[in-house]
Amino acid sequence: MNARVLAPVAVPSLQHKMEGRSLFSVALSGLAWVCALLASVPLLSVLYLLITRGGARLSMEVLTELPPAGFEMGGGFGNALAGTFVMVGIAALIAIPVGIMAAIFLAELGPSSKMANIARFSAKTLTGLPSILAGVFAYAIVVLTTGTYSAPAGGVALAVLMLPIVVLTAEEAIKMVPKIMKDAAYGMGCTRSQVIWKVILPTGLPAILTGVMLAVARAAGETAPLLFTALFSNYWLYQDGKLDLMNPTASLAVLIYNFSGMPFENQIELAWAASLVLVLIVLVINVVSRYFGRQKF
């Protein structure tokens, strides 16, 4: 080291000083910390409330029995649980294939085509659609034409809500697949559809699944779109040895809505328990999507 270089310059102090800008920085960090805490308060307090109020009533009985009438004791929401699964399943069967295929078009086939711009704009707008309007739409399309409230009508309403989430997340997932990997596939002699099926979709699958799971979780918790479409029912979909979907169908969300306003203690307790079950379902879906969301290779 050559001392001559440093000599004429006064050596500055490198010690940390508590002055204006570092105080400001500390204050901002503190504020951010408090805000992060505030953001987690709603979920944690809802969970606390649900576990204390709903947990007590949770049993095998409530998961398997039919809802009680007015002054009846006991009972459960087995049909609503089943109805939620059936309707979310119908919605998934519609929204996932359509959504992924649409995403392939948006990301790969015609990313800057007019059709793509229209579809992308529609999907983005649809994410902000008040969910009750999805119910109105399904009411017009399915309930009015079939003449009855039904599980498929509820499924269509939920599919309308799931579709934009699936389209937009899958498009992002597909766009994340590196171009050099697609080049490799073309270089091996893949046709365009082989590149999509054999390379792009498998590579983007974890991220696509994450989006799908988020959409499913959202649909499972929706109430408003089901009010006009599936309505509610005190009976099983599967009755007298046959499955009839074309009947009003119970769901957890609508059961919570109905029962929580009733003057009977039993029903209110069941609403709490159903809320806990619904939150647990959403939680499980989120955990599962995190598991699948990990890149396997």
Binding site: P178, I180, M181, D183, A184, A185, Y186, G187, M188, G189, C190, T191, Q194, K198, V199, P202, T203, Q295, K296, F297
Partner: protein, 273 residues
């Protein structure tokens, strides 16, 4: 596909040497931009043909034209012929997808698929519905790419978990598993460290026993080390455009020892780049 043009393979164009791929190009365009012009690049069987030249001289464009990879680029147009297996790669009715199955390609960035090592190598075999024992062919390809000893105990591990040099050898294994006639390598070592580069270079020299290799490199030392024949491209910046063209092509010794063209001599002496 009928064989429309027999001449390239039938008659020996260069004294007693077999030319597997004969690229005679007039012009290559990207939209209105003329990227390369007037170049005749014959590629001899079981030889390594190196393409060298300054940036923008079109050496990669020419290489990627040989298996019609450039068809994926919007606005690409190729005027000329590439004779391969008695047919014109750019002939009428020729399917670029089929062409690419006979001409393997290794890219600048190692690009294994997000799959296991085994599935990466088996990819082309499955694509071509290979009927024999896929395991045998995968092993053979990995041995051919000098990677077998390093990965034989972890064939189920992701191809992307390997080091850069290993990934590139995996990509070579993937390309040779289907035993293509020709292997195109587009600066395959430019993303690798010197040791990994050395290994890939040794591999290329081994591979030319079975395959024919066309190699783009920006590294002249690499061309000297591995190429049998070297093609020197330059870029013509007159008239305000940048159009690449073949300046001269010949045995590597001659190109680097006694180049015929002044431009070549200047380039290999590092007088411009």
């Amino acid at each position: 596909m009928n064989s429309m043009t027999q001449d390239a393979v039938a008659q020996p164009p260069m004294t007693e040497k077999t030319v597997v791929m004969d690229c005679k190009l007039d012009k290559i365009f990207y939209g209105n931009f003329m990227a390369v012009r007037d170049s005749h690049v014959p590629i001899e069987k079981n030889k390594i043909t190196g393409f060298i030249g300054p940036s923008g001289c079109g050496k990669s464009t020419v290489l990627r034209s040989l298996n019609r990879m450039n068809d994926l680029v919007e606005g690409f147009r190729f005027d000329g012929h590439v004779h391969f297996l008695g047919q014109d790669v750019y002939g009428k009715g020729v399917d670029p997808v089929v062409v690419r199955r006979y001409i393997g390609m290794v890219f600048q960035q190692p690009n294994p698929f997000a799959m296991s090592i085994f599935d990466n190598v088996a990819f082309g075999l499955r694509l071509n519905r290979y009927k024999g024992d896929i395991g045998d062919r995968v092993k053979g390809a990995l041995q051919g790419a000098a990677l077998w000893e390093e990965v034989k105990d972890k064939l189920k591990v992701s191809g992307q978990a390997l080091s850069g040099g290993q990934q590139q050898r995996l990509c070579i294994a993937r390309a040779i598993a289907t035993e293509p006639e020709v292997l195109l390598m587009d600066e395959p070592c430019s993303a690798l460290d010197p040791i990994a580069t050395r290994r890939v270079e040794e591999l290329m020299v081994e591979l030319k026993q079975k395959f024919t290799i066309a190699l783009v490199t920006h590294n002249m030392q690499q061309a000297i080390r591995v190429a049998d024949t070297t093609a020197f491209f330059s870029v013509d910046i007159s008239e305000g455009t940048r159009t690449g063209y073949l300046v001269e092509m010949g045995p590597t010794d001659q190109i680097f020892g006694e180049p015929r063209e002044k431009l070549t001599r200047e380039y290999i002496n590092g007088e411009f780049s």
